[in-house]
Symmetry: C2
Subunit: 354 residues, 2 copies
């Protein structure tokens, strides 16, 4: 017969006060030392099968589970990986979160998610990430240089996702946004488009900058220096509205390059429902990302595919590899974007539209 204390816990009465059983409780109940209980839950532990079974049975009766906090404190390893994402990324690439979660979980890690409104609002999250002893960090947002150094100083490996940071202290995986932007400029130019406009994302959104700036630079090399451009919040509604504002005061352009697919969808609907322009006969529209809707027949958007799930898996393995070996040389992976030609743009050689 055990103490009342033990009885309570074993029969788990409805009013049991919520205090979880500790390895010490199990040890007392099993009549062994606490350290022996601890050993039961390690694979390589030297422990007799008999005591192990005995303890395991009692532990399960008491509903004992190890305390990850206490374990992390002593092992100096939390098996928790932080992930920082912006609202936009979460909205537009929900697959990223899922893929990251799966990859991390499959490797025995947990995901500590920090959401931020945009790249500039990352401060508070970083503070949290510092206080919490994370094993690593996957950051899908820009980070100030001094924060990067601080994490590095503490030995917290980081990989940046779609943010190419100029530091030898971290790993990066990013789509070749600029390359794809140039590629689109070339395709559009070759097909005869001369009067083009751009619909960007937010002023300071890195991927928007990369994509659109490269596009504009390449166009400039072709002698097309003046490209009316408008900023948006990356959304369908804003893309549609601002595009209308933009073209309201000008002659119809030949083509429009949008910093992402949501914007392109908005522009397509602006053409179809607000302006009565035919796509692609009157105007060519190109997006970026290849989100699910882009492939549907109602839009058939020509765009650049960003293999977000593959990239997420790569990001996770980069991080896990570095957690395993912090001395790995810094790696920066640049994934080429694939131009997916559907029917929202005339890309074949030809004369410019009427």
């Amino acid at each position: 017969m055990g103490t009342d204390d033990e009885m309570d816990r074993m029969h788990s009465s409805p009013t049991a006060r919520p205090r979880r059983a500790t390895s010490y409780d199990v040890a007392r109940a099993a009549g062994v030392a606490q350290s022996t209980v601890s050993r039961c839950f390690k694979d390589d532990a030297k422990i007799s099968a008999k005591t192990r079974d005995h303890i395991l049975k009692i532990a399960s009766d008491m509903g004992y589970t190890g305390n990850a906090l206490a374990r992390s404190l002593i092992t100096q390893r939390s098996n928790v990986v932080g992930v920082i994402v912006t609202a936009f990324t979460i909205r537009n690439n929900p697959e990223l979160i899922y893929a990251l979660g799966e990859a991390l979980q499959n490797a025995g890690n947990s995901l500590f998610l920090m959401v931020v409104e945009n790249d500039d609002a990352i401060g508070a999250s970083l503070q949290k990430a510092m206080e919490y002893p994370l094993d690593g960090l996957i950051c899908c947002a820009q980070m100030p240089e001094d924060w990067i150094r601080q994490f590095a100083n503490r030995g917290v490996p980081m990989v940046f996702f779609n943010r190419l940071v100029d530091s030898s202290l971290v790993d990066c995986i990013t789509l070749d946004h600029a390359g794809a932007g140039r590629r689109i400029a070339e395709a559009l130019y070759r097909a005869g488009h001369r009067s083009v406009v751009c619909v960007r994302g937010p002023e300071r959104a890195p991927v928007s900058q990369l994509r659109v700036d490269a596009f504009r630079d390449r166009m400039a090399e072709f002698g097309i220096g003046s490209i009316p451009t408008v900023c948006t919040d990356f959304s369908y509604a804003d893309g549609r509205r601002r595009f209308l504002d933009l073209v309201g005061g000008m002659k119809r352009p030949d083509a429009v390059f949008c910093a992402n697919d949501q914007l392109a969808l908005g522009v397509i609907d602006a053409c179809r429902f607000d302006l009565g322009w035919r796509i692609p006969e009157d105007i060519s529209i190109i997006g970026f990302d290849d989100i699910a809707e882009a492939g549907r027949p109602s839009y058939a958007l020509t765009t650049v595919r960003q293999p977000i799930v593959d990239m997420a898996e790569t990001a996770a393995s980069l991080l896990l590899a570095r957690i395993g070996d912090p001395d790995l040389p810094p790696r920066r992976i640049m994934v080429p974007g694939e131009l997916i030609e559907r029917s929202s743009a005339r890309l074949a050689n030809g004369s410019p539209p009427a």
Copy 2:
């Protein structure tokens, strides 16, 4: 002059081995007791402004940050909330994650995210959630009764999101899926539709069951007992394909009710691009969720709005309230779905289609 050890850390040499400064390190450098350092970081602490400033300065020089793990261990409070979501939820309602993250973060909590493939694959995540001393859990998936009891026994508050669980141990917030399903049946019937079909989600997906079963039951009450129904994986592509299979062998139905908007979009495209049926003249289509695409002119889908962001915020405050006071009575909130009439369905009174 301090020891070499201290110098290293203070000047943070490039090769500094990654060991984060502890409150003890700060105490040594400041010439005070460790507990005094600890006190500096509490609001109500009794400590002289002078020593506080002195310590704070040194702490910041050393890049000291509290260790959340150690703190949680002693305070028995982690300020971490677990969130369990299925792949489908994350894909189809990415806003949920963001809203949850924001609400939790604003209240000073962190988000521990566990993704699961579907409601049946929740086991491993629950194990993690048990070992990690979470302050609470928001579960957007079904959970076996005995797990619920275990969490309750440990005093971990839980709120279920869109899963109505029959337990007085937890809080729930859910849309009134069944009510909305019935409402749609009524609207469709009143408008004269008699030959209807359903496109469901996965066999065992709770929200799909609730929505479709209620719809079918209500239709049965109207004397419409035979409703051809097909299961899908909740995706656009599967909705489109299976709908085609379903109607391949039958006379054109008057109306189709889809368990979510993605499916409805697929069905619309099947009608438009594969079958050449006009919407809503030939066939009425109704979805569920009111995702962003549903409102766009290319689809103009009639659907039921699920105020996912409001619900997320409510879920967070339910949980936070219970963390603050565990003795609160169990609450179950049922949010009514709002029927959004657009133009994919004829809902006015009238005769059935030709």
